[in-house]
């Protein structure tokens, strides 16, 4: 960036909306940052001399004669080892009372990885939760969100997963986090003695919503530093991406863009993909894994936000309360890990794929039996058995409070098959039945 001897100050704002300001200015680059009376803003549109800025802190109280100074560069973050253990706001300023971080200044939202330079993810991430490890195994370099209604304990599950996964760095990108949840994360990481591995960029509900747009890029710029320069495995937690998308729609709305489905901007898919695709396995060993949260309204996954997310991410983990056992489970029907094929039966025991599929299929049979029961029909003996099986399966394997190794999960699966079904009903490849079916 060229250093300027003096900076021109503009004082004539011609248009102000809730999220944007427009003024006449010259020689301005697209995406460039500006300060409006000390508030950070970014160029989003230039037509001739008219420059439109998106104001991260909101435009409340901005006068038409506010002082506007263009900074001549896109948003940046200073990266170095000093980031570790620190808490920052959406602009990368410390909020933990510590000093500013010294280091190399990098533009956030940098270029994409050349697909031919990526490596195929192959490291299993064990979480101890069978609903994840058995049915939806996670792999380093993956990107996967929790789909959950706001009343589900997604932040707790995410914190648990983060701590059990053996990552070198955990980077938390909090968007519209309540102050309580922010303190919860801080507390959990502190108690686990993991604080020096954690870096947080937090926008709480007390901060202006448009600021959130910076959080994922900040978190991922820090992640790229540790994954590329230090070859570390980095786990990035993004919560809640629904609030991020809401902020996108606020800005596009103020810019008079034609909304597409669910009043989201037409570019939602590309905007989200740019973030999630930062998940990568680098050739030199470093990796970025993204676990995100997308809150749903009433479990509706057809809404534009979860829908676009589902098409981008490598699966989703769907949390729901199972009323039969009174616990939160990882729903085996709606959840999916697309990368599990790379590790199951390869890094785990050979029977993993078939046990996983059969267990879920039988659980589906139980769901049918339940429908029959609710409709007042007699159940067959098979139906009865599937129901008994489903309850145990839910309790011993799907519940999020399970914490066991993968072999133990598979053994539990076989135990349940033997207990409730015949070999024909299970329909697993004969070689595996011969080996693992123990009466």
């Amino acid at each position: 960036m060229a250093t300027k001897a003096f900076q021109k100050i503009y004082t004539k704002i011609s248009k102000i909306t809730k999220a944007t300001c427009t003024l006449k200015a010259e020689g301005i680059g697209n995406d460039e940052l500006a300060e409006i009376d000390g508030r950070l803003a970014q160029v989003v549109k230039i037509i001739g001399e008219e420059v439109t800025l998106q104001v991260f802190g909101g435009t409340e109280g901005i006068p038409t004669n506010a002082e506007v100074v263009f900074i001549g560069k896109a948003p940046t973050l200073k990266v170095s080892d000093q980031l570790a253990g620190r808490f920052f706001d959406a602009f990368g300023h410390p909020i933990d009372g510590g000093p500013e971080v010294e280091g190399e200044e990098r533009e956030i939202g940098g270029p994409s990885v050349n697909p031919v330079r990526r490596k195929q993810p192959s490291e299993l991430i064990a979480t101890g939760i069978a609903g994840i490890d058995l049915n939806n195994t996670l792999v380093s370099g993956q990107k996967i969100p929790f789909f959950a209604d706001p009343d589900q304990p997604y932040n707790q599950v995410m914190a648990m997963v983060a701590l059990r996964a053996k990552a070198d760095k955990i980077i938390l990108g909090g968007m519209g986090l309540t102050n309580d949840d922010y303190l919860y994360f801080k507390n959990v990481f502190d108690n686990a003695g993991a604080l020096d591995r954690i870096i947080s960029f937090v926008n709480t509900t007390e901060n202006p919503p448009v600021e959130r747009l910076l959080v994922p890029d900040m978190a991922l710029t820090a992640a790229e530093y540790f994954a590329v320069e230090k070859n570390e495995s980095v786990l990035v937690l993004l919560t809640d991406m629904t609030l991020f998308a809401d902020a996108l729609s606020i800005v596009s709305n103020r810019m008079d863009q034609i909304p597409s489905k669910d009043s989201m901007p037409g570019s939602l898919y590309s905007d989200l993909a740019k973030i999630y695709e930062k998940a990568v396995q680098f050739p030199d060993g470093g990796s970025i894994t993204i676990i995100a949260v997308t809150t749903l309204s009433g479990g509706d996954i057809t809404h534009a936000i979860p829908d676009n997310t589902g098409y981008i991410t490598e699966g989703q983990l769907f949390l729901r309360r199972d009323t039969d056992i009174g616990k939160v489970i990882v729903d085996p029907f709606r959840s999916l890990s697309r990368l599990k094929q790379l590790v199951i039966g390869k890094k785990t025991r050979e029977d993993h794929p078939q046990v996983m599929n059969t267990a879920v299929r039988l659980f589906a049979d139980a769901a049918n039996a339940k429908t029959k029961l609710e409709n007042g029909f007699d159940l067959t003996d098979y139906d009865e058995r599937t129901l008994a099986y489903a309850k145990e399966y839910s309790n011993k394997l799907l519940a999020i409070d399970v914490n066991i190794g993968t072999d133990e999960m598979l053994d539990t699966g076989w135990e349940l098959f033997v207990k409730h079904f015949s070999k024909e009903e299970v329909g697993i490849k004969q070689e595996l039945v011969d080996k693992y079916w123990k009466n």
């Binding site: 301005i28 697209n30 995406d31 994409s112 037409g266 590309s270 809404h303 299929r361």
Partner: protein, 585 residues
């Protein structure tokens, strides 16, 4: 002199340029920045203002930056050395780029200028030739790569000379042609062609009729696609679109496979990069990568290049078709391409159609699908481009504009169904809603009865009827209860389940089951249909479940065993005795 311009406005990747001379629609332009230049395409002209979409990030572009117009449209280089390459949407060779991250403005050449090719002449002096006629050939990964009269040549030319058999580089002169005015033109092994225009240098495009084997039973048997046919696979996320696409691209009996990864996940492309060089083509025994071309514009790569990527892929496919080859092109996903059109239409402030898509979406999709096809070349040889696209319907709703528009254009419809995927019934293609129009083609009926035997199509239609009746029964049982319907209804339902589990479902991750040659498909279908045609005797409905589950289990074990192996025969014999238990006399 080339037209020049200066930047007047920037809205994301749409840039408004004031120009000093003539420009044409879809012309390529470069925005010059101090350290690099950004490739763009003209998409709208309003007086002096020309609107260009930039194939890169426009970060730092300023009003006043100079723009240069090139006078040509987006083109690809066609010549030997395209196979096994990994290109981006603009045909830049991704492997030639340095560093882990993509650099803005880093454009690399598509072909290798230095490589020597063994050239063999096919034409001789005084031959009369026209565009796309074969002048010679080189061996490219075991395929005869024809060197053709450039597609842009109009009229008839006379061959003045053709290079002798020997080794040549792509830019060496391999022929001199004389046009009707008596002027000599030099021809090399490379030619360029604008991607948005179809290559039409063939004699005739008849209705396609030859089965294109994919090894996927629910496609080949139930809803077959043909060489030069079109099909599409819509499905909500998580229903197995990509697994199915990969299975088809691995197994299909094609000479060349072009894969356009259009706005999808990078790791899916990485899977192809990693696996294809290792996996063997089941038909030739060579490595799969040798017959594959990948166009990767993943979802985090620039949006405007996403639109270009499908056209680039189709042009490469058409090029190989002109050599008399069987080309399969897959695009995953065409919805992302439609979304790229939507983003741009939105920035141009055009009046939106349904769901804010451009109003001409339907026409754009139809034109694109029409580029596929089976053709007779000028020399009487045949070639084909079979196109299968996936569609990612928003919210899983098949009534959305991209699915609806594609349904009008494609002849095969493979509807992936959420509930089948939830029940792990893969591939989750719904057997009742899906269709292949080719089953109705008399040309196909004739071809398939020669290949498999007569009555095949009747058998396939019967399968569909059984599936439909099975579904009806299942709905009745849900309403009336297990004992509210006669026992024979249960038998009817379970017969449809046998077809579902044994024919429709297929394990894409099992070495044997993943690929079923048509002969084996025929064998298994006839076996299953014999069971469906038989009468069984049961006392009550609970017996029906258990009995059919045993049958299904044995047939599945057969699917998992090598065809006609000891193991296969063992299960077949056991099955025969199970059948005898209840078969009515």
């Amino acid at each position: 002199m080339a037209t020049k311009g200066t930047v007047k406005g920037i809205i994301s990747n749409l840039v408004i340029v004031e120009v000093d001379g003539p420009v044409s629609q879809n012309e390529i332009a470069y925005i010059k920045l101090p350290d690099t230049k950004l490739m763009s395409e003209v998409i709208k002209v309003m007086g002096k203002n020309t609107y260009i979409q930039v194939f890169e990030s426009t970060r730092g572009v300023k009003v006043g930056d100079p723009v240069e117009f090139m006078g040509y449209m987006l083109e690809v280089s066609l010549g030997p050395g395209i196979l096994s390459r990994n290109y981006d949407g603009l045909q830049n060779d991704l492997d030639k780029m340095e560093g882990v991250f993509l650099k803005r403005g880093d454009y690399t050449s598509a072909l290798d200028d230095e490589k020597l090719w063994d050239f063999k002449p096919l034409a001789k002096a005084d031959d009369k030739v026209a565009a796309a006629d074969w002048l010679g050939e080189v061996d490219e990964n075991g395929q005869p790569h024809k060197i053709m009269v450039p597609f842009v040549f109009e009229g008839v030319y006379t061959v003045k000379s053709v290079a002798e058999k020997g080794q040549y580089k792509i830019n060496d002169e391999i022929a001199v042609l004389t046009n009707s005015d008596g002027d000599d033109v030099s021809v090399t092994m490379v030619q360029r062609w604008p991607v948005k225009q179809p290559i039409k240098a063939y004699r005739d495009k008849p209705r396609p009729f030859k089965l294109l084997e994919t090894g996927v039973r629910t496609i080949d048997t139930i809803n077959p696609i043909v060489e030069g046919g079109t099909g599409f696979i819509p499905g909500p996320f998580g229903t197995g679109k990509t697994v199915l696409q990969h299975a088809i691209s691995k197994q299909a009996e094609a000479d060349i496979v072009v894969i356009a990864a259009c706005g999808e996940r990078a790791n899916e492309v990485v899977e192809i990069f990693t696996e294809f060089p290792e996996l063997e083509d089941p038909h030739t025994g060579r490595k799969l990568m040798e017959r594959t071309i990948i166009i990767a514009n993943t979802s985090n790569m620039p949006v405007a290049a996403r639109e270009a990527s499908v056209y680039t892929a189709m042009t490469l496919a058409e090029y190989y078709r002109s050599m008399g080859l069987k080309v399969l092109m897959m695009a995953d996903s065409t919805s992302r391409w439609a979304q790229a059109l939507r983003e741009m239409s939105n920035r141009l402030e055009e009046l939106p159609g349904q769901d804010a898509f451009p109003v001409d979406l339907s026409a754009i999709i139809a034109n694109f699908y029409a580029r596929a096809g089976f053709v007779y070349l000028n020399n009487g040889e045949t070639g084909s481009v079979t196109f299968i696209g996936t569609v990612s319907p928003a919210g899983g709703n098949l009534k959305e504009p991209v699915t609806e528009s594609t349904k009008k254009a494609a002849r095969c419809f493979y509807a992936l169904q959420q509930s089948r995927a939830d029940g792990k019934r893969y591939p989750a293609i719904n057997p009742i809603d899906s269709y292949s129009k080719y089953l109705e083609y008399p040309e196909y009926a004739e071809y398939i009865s020669e290949r498999i035997g007569s009555g095949w199509i009747d058998l396939v239609n019967e399968v569909k009827t059984i599936m439909l009746r099975g579904q009806e029964v299942s709905e009745q049982i849900n309403i009336l209860g297990d004992d509210g319907v006669p026992v024979e209804y249960h038998v009817r339902f379970w017969k449809s389940e046998v077809i579902d589990f044994v024919i429709l479902q297929q394990d894409a991750f099992d070495k044997v089951d993943m690929l079923t040659p048509i002969e084996r498909q025929e064998y298994m279908l006839r076996k299953v249909m014999d069971i469906c045609h038989s009468d069984f005797e049961f006392e009550n409905f609970t017996e029906v479940d258990t009995y059919f589950k045993r049958i299904i289990n044995h047939l599945k074990q057969m699917n998992y065993s090598e065809f006609e192996s000891e193991k296969f025969k063992k299960y077949e014999e056991e099955l025969a005795s199970i059948l005898k238990e209840r078969m009515a006399a």
